[in-house]
């Protein structure tokens, strides 16, 4: 005798939506297995998307407050400029903080760094890692592997507006330029009141810039445009070496994405605290 116990509950489990995790098969004439549960995963698959939402929302909230506060962004004494205000091009900027001139309008709703922030936002929005993160955690498409997405239709990145995700490489080019500006900010901050000066703030700014470069260079588009598009590496030894390096960074792209969110917020918080006089900068040289 078969020891299988197919209970009434098992069989009554299968309501009308029994065939699939969602849509009724339109193409395959043959049906799928009738499994009542939308997912049979029992692990805590919702932890990762929940953490992502928390992290991104918290960071965006902090970023918004800081960008629109339009205060405490520059430490004149040590030339520290926070990355959230770089390059400071608004006519409302402090003259000594504006390394590239002041020409964008001064308005409470226009960020002081109106030339860089939109591109940075675009860079991160179209980043292959962040796309994965928000498609999973905000769009729930899918929330986790083998957990169904709840939308009746799905066209991925084939239609407007998501087809524009394919322009990520242009955001990457812009991000390289902005990283150059950030590097410039970090370098001229070493120019203290009396010649070369080094304080904790310099280390914070420098660390942030290094991390930003690593994140930017580990970009998938960077990997592609510099060498990944080649068919034969052996004919391009220099680009091949570069590809090896970028590939090595690229395997940790997600980590760099989160680390740079952290260093950006910390750098900004440090500059804000020094600028507002809540703490004093720890000086090592001058």
């Amino acid at each position: 005798m078969c020891a299988a116990v197919r209970t009434e509950a098992d069989l009554s489990n299968r309501g009308e939506g029994m065939t699939t995790t969602g849509a009724v098969p339109a193409v395959a004439a043959k049906p799928r297995a009738a499994i009542g549960e939308k997912t049979l995963r029992r692990d805590r698959w919702w932890v990762a998307p929940a953490l992502t939402v928390t992290g991104l929302v918290a960071w965006l909230a902090y970023g918004m407050v800081r960008v629109f506060s339009q205060a405490n962004y520059y430490v004149a004494e040590h030339h520290y400029l926070t990355p959230f205000y770089s390059p400071c091009t608004s006519t409302g900027c402090l003259p000594e903080a504006a390394h590239f001139g002041r020409f964008t309008p001064d308005h409470p709703l226009v960020p002081y760094a109106a030339l860089s922030l939109p591109f940075l936002l675009l860079f991160r929005l179209t980043c292959y890692y962040y796309r994965k993160a928000y498609y999973r955690s905000f769009w729930l498409s899918p929330p986790a592997c083998a957990v169904p997405d709840r939308r009746p239709r799905y066209t991925g990145e084939t239609r407007f507006p998501l087809v524009f995700q394919n322009l990520h490489r242009y955001a990457f080019y812009a991000a390289v330029l902005i990283s150059l500006v950030n590097t410039y900010d970090a370098v001229i901050a070493f120019d203290g009141e009396r010649g070369l000066g080094i304080g904790l703030g310099n280390l914070v700014l420098a660390t942030n810039v290094v991390m930003l470069w690593i994140y930017t260079l580990s970009c998938h588009s960077c990997r592609h445009v510099f060498a990944g598009r080649l068919r034969t590496f052996s004919q391009h030894p220099v680009r091949y070496r570069w590809w090896l390096l970028v590939s090595k960074l690229n395997t940790r792209h997600m980590e760099w994405a989160w680390i740079t969110l952290g260093t950006l917020a910390l750098t900004d918080a440090y500059v804000m605290s020094v600028s507002a006089g809540w703490i004093t900068d720890l000086r090592f040289v001058n």
Partner: protein, 335 residues
């Protein structure tokens, strides 16, 4: 040795549900061992596929506790001591019976992917490649065709209607493999990925990479590079503008077929009618008969077979290349 509760999906196309079994489990066993013990003791009619029990043939794909896995590579020691283990068939494909599904979707998609195109200037035997040039493609050759990536991908798992337009991650690595191949003669792999394979449907959420038992970095090393190759020619504003002005894009699209396919009841997809001589030629080729003897069985060994070498898995009456009219794929340039 101890006893464990297993819930296994039993049923067929008409009906089915989870059945409970109490089964003995010994140290060092994998899920496939337990399924075999069930077949040997309590459920002799339980259907499941397997072959190598070594994670190399890709036959034993099932969903274990809701996650697509190889039954032969899932150790019993990875579960909590008293937890129930649920085994169900692959969700995205039609069920045949119990744990066996009809995975022909994947073969149809494979057939629609143009094969390696040999370089015309080189004879076979003259191919010379450097390791650094082939290493990217080699990663994708590790694929064992278990189709776990194909079943987990939400594009078809949750939206069956996308199947005609979407080839799936296993075929994206095939496209990438050939696109990165130093000697492949075709230059349209990216265009094919965009138009015929539907790579735009993928939203790089990486579930395929998560389940791949060969640890192929499908998304990072194949899908994203292919998306970038598509961006090279499709979404580069300057290229796009040029094609708009020259009205090139319509010329190409006219002959491209399968994304416009319409569902039919036969289980095959008949594409939308095309211009010209290709209308009639687009049914998927029927399976070929095996060379069985009068007793209806394959000859046991080569010595009994009337030809040298083993029987062709494609059927011995098939010669290659298969006539182009028998394939559903129509290349724009060859028209």
């Amino acid at each position: 040795m101890h006893t464990r509760t297993f819930q296994i999906w039993r049923g067929d196309v008409h009906d089915g549900g989870l059945a409970d079994y109490q089964v003995e489990v010994n140290e060092g066993e994998v899920v496939l061992d337990v399924i075999h013990r069930l077949q040997a003791t309590q459920a002799p009619d339980l259907a499941c596929r397997w072959n190598c029990k070594a994670g190399k043939c890709g036959s034993c794909s099932v969903e274990i506790n809701g996650r697509p896995r190889l039954a032969c590579m899932t150790r019993m020691s990875t579960f909590e001591p008293d937890a129930t283990v649920t085994v169900t068939p692959l969700r995205s494909f039609p069920v045949i019976r119990d744990l066996v599904t009809d995975v022909s979707y994947n073969y149809t998609k494979a057939r629609e992917t143009p094969a390696f195109a040999p370089p015309p200037e080189l004879a076979p035997g003259q191919y010379r490649m450097q390791q650094r040039d082939v290493q990217r493609s080699q990663e994708f050759r590790k694929c064992i065709e278990c189709f776990l990536c194909q079943t987990v991908c939400h594009v078809v798992r949750d939206h069956d209607e996308n199947k005609p337009a979407f080839a799936g991650p296993r075929l994206f690595i095939r496209a990438a493999e050939l696109s990165m191949h130093p000697l492949d003669d075709r230059t349209d792999r990216a265009a094919h990925a965009a138009r015929e394979q539907g790579i735009g449907y993928c939203n790089i959420t990486k579930c395929c990479t998560e389940v791949c038992p060969e640890h192929i970095r499908i998304t990072d090393n194949a899908i994203i590079p292919m998306k970038e190759r598509v961006a090279d020619r499709r979404y580069d504003p300057l290229v796009w503008l040029g094609r708009r002005i020259l009205r090139r894009d319509q010329m190409v699209e006219q002959y491209v077929s399968s994304t416009a396919a319409t569902p039919t009841g036969s289980g095959h997809w008949t594409p939308a009618p095309l211009a010209g001589a290709f209308e009639q030629a687009l049914e998927v080729p029927p399976p070929q008969a095996a060379p069985v003897g009068p007793d209806g069985k394959l000859p046991l060994s080569e010595t009994l077979l009337d030809r040298a070498g083993a029987a062709s898995p494609f059927g011995d009456d098939v010669s290659f290349p298969v006539p182009a009219e028998d394939l559903r794929y129509v290349h724009p340039d060859s028209v």
